[in-house]
Assembly symmetry: C2
Homo-oligomer: 223 residues x 2
Amino acid sequence: GIILKNVTKTYGEGDVKTTALDGVSIEIDDGAFVVVLGPSGSGKSTLLNVMSGLDTLDEGEITIDGARIDTMKDNALTAFRRKHVGFVFQQYNLLHTLTAKENVDIGGRLVDEPHDSERLLDDVGLAKHKTKYPFQLSGGEQQRVSIARALAKRPKVLFCDEPTGALDEEMGKAVLGILQRLNEKHGTTVVLITHNAAIARLAHIIVRLNSGKVVSVKANRPV
Amino acid sequence: GIILKNVTKTYGEGDVKTTALDGVSIEIDDGAFVVVLGPSGSGKSTLLNVMSGLDTLDEGEITIDGARIDTMKDNALTAFRRKHVGFVFQQYNLLHTLTAKENVDIGGRLVDEPHDSERLLDDVGLAKHKTKYPFQLSGGEQQRVSIARALAKRPKVLFCDEPTGALDEEMGKAVLGILQRLNEKHGTTVVLITHNAAIARLAHIIVRLNSGKVVSVKANRPV
Ligand SMILES: Nc1ncnc2c1ncn2[C@@H]1O[C@H](COP(=O)(O)OP(=O)(O)OP(=O)(O)O)[C@@H](O)[C@H]1O
Ligand SMILES: Nc1ncnc2c1ncn2[C@@H]1O[C@H](COP(=O)(O)OP(=O)(O)OP(=O)(O)O)[C@@H](O)[C@H]1O
Ligand SMILES: [Mg+2]
Ligand SMILES: [Mg+2]
């Protein structure tokens, strides 16, 4: 499970101080499909970055499977993330000098039985784009490479920051199907930010943020 | 008006050839609100880039207000775009070393009466973020800076590549309101790519693309 206790993260000081997360406390059970909703600038990406160990916090604690993520040394944290955490970034974060396939390979590189990269790219409709570089791909194609890369390591926890933002309805549904199958068949914990109501409907739990605070945590659908 | 005649654009050669636009012919009247729909990878961004003179074509002609955009020399084309064309990019394309306000200033820099940058940022809900750099802004905040920058020059034609992709419903509606007002009160021609059905409903004309071809051009709403 993932437990956040009173997590606060601020930027800047004085009158240019931004409180991106303000005393956030949440508990997420293994195998849950959690959707995070909230206005632009409300702290959703910051929440995911801090929850996954990609970013530091200023106050509070984060525990994943009993391990205190917020106090881990860099090496241990990096090793933990590489093995267990998949992340689909809001701005994709693809490596520009690697092809689509190579970007996905990187995702699975440090685990014993990664998914086959080509198969993952086929699954997200990129069969004909595997040897292209990011600058040769459309926005939605880049987003899909980012998704395939996150899946390559068969992560225990998958964090997705608006994974279908650049996709049309059809392709968005296909991606959602993949995420649902991962969650229901393989027990992957999914924590997903979206503005898409159709995706939110699939959640077990819906977390709403506003100005860095958790406004509500609601059960949406039984596990 | 904007006229495309038989526009084709391809990438690569042989069996790695991609036909991004395939014999596209469209006419857009001044003051129209045009929405471009289509699956990921269907050629929408390429259409906008070519239509606005940001990218070259391989076959066909593009005429804006009687001027052949596709045969213009670089200097003339750049001058034309700077004066008349506003562009909201799918990946924002903000200058990283400039603040939000400075990015918007750049947008209006070469016209006689640009909009006030601070006012534009207020209009898109960024009153408290004007002095921040792009890396200090959320995805949706960066997108809104990109919108404000495009509006700064009071363009005759505004091209928007998924301008509300990173925004929640509330903020998306606010942006749409701005675009609608520009179109209805100031006669700005708006050519907008979106996956959002609510935005598509506002269109005078809906253009559907699939695999680089125009599948249909439909009147949606009277001008
Ligand atoms: N430099 C390039 N080299 C090769 N193929 C390219 C290049 N740029 C774009 N393409 C291809 O052209 C096609 C159309 O791209 P475009 O960006 O116009 O699609 P789009 O409709 O905007 O997609 P999305 O909704 O995902 O943003 C895509 O299949 C893309 O892979
Ligand atoms: N390095 C930074 N310095 C200052 N403020 C920051 C920094 N990074 C983020 N912020 C601010 O923290 C707030 C939360 O940002 P975050 O990216 O988490 O929002 P979000 O909910 O993901 O928004 P969106 O839906 O637009 O992606 C925003 O107001 C943003 O401007
Ligand atoms: Mg975000
Ligand atoms: Mg595009």
